[in-house]
Each structure stands twice: as C-alpha cells, then as structure tokens.
Amino acid sequence: MESLDDVIDAMIAERVIHRHRRKWLIAIALVVVLALIVLATGGWKEKKGRTVPTLTAPVTVTSGKWEYNFTKAEIVQHPKKEYSPAEAELLVYFDLKNMDDEQDTSDSLDGRLLRLVPGDGKDLVESNGATCRGQIGWVVVFGLPPVSCVTEFDVPPDFTADMVEIGVLGERFESDQGFLGANEDPYWQQPEADAVVQIKPTVVVDNGEKK
C-alpha cells in the first residue's frame, strides 16, 4: 500500500512536469522552423564559387608532380549506325612532364587528376588518364622532356560546347599523421584543385571508315 507521502510526491512531480510543457513545445517547434528556413534559403554554408584561377589554353600548368601544357581539345562524334548507337567523347591534348623531384620516380597520370567541369552544378567527369605514344596509362619518366599525350572524357552523344573547362587537380607530397601508427614517410596524396583550363574544342565527326 502506497503511503500518503508517495502519492503527494507523485502529484507534485506531475505538476512540475506539466507546468512548463507548452513553453518547451513552443521552443522546440521554433528550432525546427528555424532549421527549415535555413535549409530552404540554401544552407548555412557560404557559397564561395571558384577559388582557383581560370586559365585559357594554350597554357602551361604545374600542379602536384605534373607539368601540363594544354594545346587543343576535340569533340569526336560517332554518328548512329545500324549496329551501334551514337557516341561522343571529348579529347584533350597536352604535353606532360614528370616533375617529381621528391621521389624522382616514373609514374602514369591518374585519371582523377583531370576532370571535365560541365557547369550548371553537374558532377565533374573524371578522365581516363594520359594516353601517350599510343599507349593508355603511359609511364612518364622523370628527367625526360615532355611527351605529348591525350586524355578522354565520356560525354553524352549530343554534347556541344563553345568552351570546355578542364579542372586540374594536384597531389600534395605529405605524410600521414603518425600518432595513430601510420607510417610518417611522405608520399603524393590528397589531390586538390589547382586550376581550371578553358579550351575551345573543335568538332570532329568520326564516320568509322578505319578504326
């Protein structure tokens, strides 16, 4: 059997809980509304736009361990045929030099370091690396003169542009944080945007006589 004290305690507790309930509900509702307003007006984060320089080809860009000399761009269109759908790709030509004086090591260009910037807030398109001397994934030797290369971006068949923009990312020669047990020797990692290169593409129609 409950004592009278227990019953009174329970009653007081109930009162205390209920006394400010409306105020709390109003406060929580206010926070939710505020959050919705911030979301609706475009988020908390300040939009900065482009923070890297925009350059116009022909131009030489040094980014990370690579030096690029962008020359020209081509939109190659493959019209629809009986057995194949219409396709297009964007080819960007450049001279590539290995500038890795940290490690003096030959390496092939990572396709993630060159990206097509389609604009209008669309996702960037990664390239397929550097094809030099007719070989995809060519290993560029440190210490040799620049070699002329081409990279390819997949674009929709109806892709047209007066000016294509290629984002150039460069890796940084850094080490990982050692206190978690990682090796502290630095290596090329963490690509960051370094420049955007604008190139005027020419349109080439590939009728597929010889491939």
Binding site: Q103, D104, T105, S106, Q135, G137, V139, V141, F142
Partner: protein
Amino acid sequence: MKLYRPATVLVGVLFILLGGLTRLATPDHVYEKQNMEVVHGTIGEKLPYGDSSVTITRMKFAKTVLESGAGEDDEPIETDGVFVALEWDAVRGVTEPLSANPTLRADGGTIYRPLGVTESGLDFPDPGFAQIGAVVFEVNPSDLKGLTLRLDPAPLYNVLYVAIDVDLGIPSEDVAQRLVDGAAAQYVFGNREVRVA
C-alpha cells in the same frame, strides 16, 4: 609475503640494461625493415625468391619497342630517352611467390617503372613450370650509372619477405654512353614461353 625481493628487482634492472645494450650494439637495425632480406646478384645468376627463383638472362638497349602481336599497321613505340629490355627466366617453386614489382634504380636517384604495356612485366607460372619473358623500362640516358634492377614483393608486413637486387653492370657514365650509342633500332617482345622446370 614480500612482493619485490631485491633479487627480483635486480633481474628486472638487468633485463632493461640488456635491452638497451642490444640497441646500442645494432643501431642500424633499429629503424630498418627487419622482415626484409635482400638477395644481391648479377645478370645470369640464379637468384632465389622464396622457393622460386629468377634469372635475368639478358639486357638489351633499344630505341623503339614493338609488341609481339603487332601487325603491319602497328607503329613501334618511340622514346626521347632509351629503352632497356631485361629478359628473365622465372622458375616457380611449390608455394606461390609474392608478386614481384620490378623497378630500376640508378645512382642519380631516379627510379624507373616498367613500360605500361601488357607484355612488359614479370610473373611466375604454375608450380613445376618455368617461364621466360621480358620487362622493358623507358629510362633517362643521363642517369644510368649504377643501374640496378630491384624486385620488390607486394608489401605484406607480417612475413619475412625477400627482395632481389640485380646489378646490371653499368659502373660508369662512359659505359652507359657506350650502351646508349650501341642501342638496337628495335626491341621486339618475344613470346612468353613456358616449359617444365
């Protein structure tokens, strides 16, 4: 009962001193990779790699490279430097060897990676067999002195692994220059022939 008798403490101190002494005795080994053994050799020498073995049979300098399956229309691959082709003979043991990454190192500090074509590489056949093939490097003619082929196993940190260092016999700049001057016009990849070991 007394937990730490003087003798116990003495033994502990002795162990600490011993640990310090071993560090003092081999200071080079403290920061070195203890789980790596490097086998040194030269061209023509059969070098053990686990229970498999690798022999570098021939070194050739060339100005262009052609793949073995190339047709009439295929252009040879050119270079502003020079190509070094190393032909190997790999005999496979019973256990699967760690895949070997070949690199060339020169005294000037340059590290060369193999040419990125399918046929240029080094791998082992099935147990009981041996295979020949070639790995080709594009190199800078001005940094060839002391050229060494290094076969590094894929990094696994919990096993004792063996790396191979093959001295390619280029002791001076003059020798390097001679080899570059005498480079063949073309190197054609041979077929990867497999035979019973």
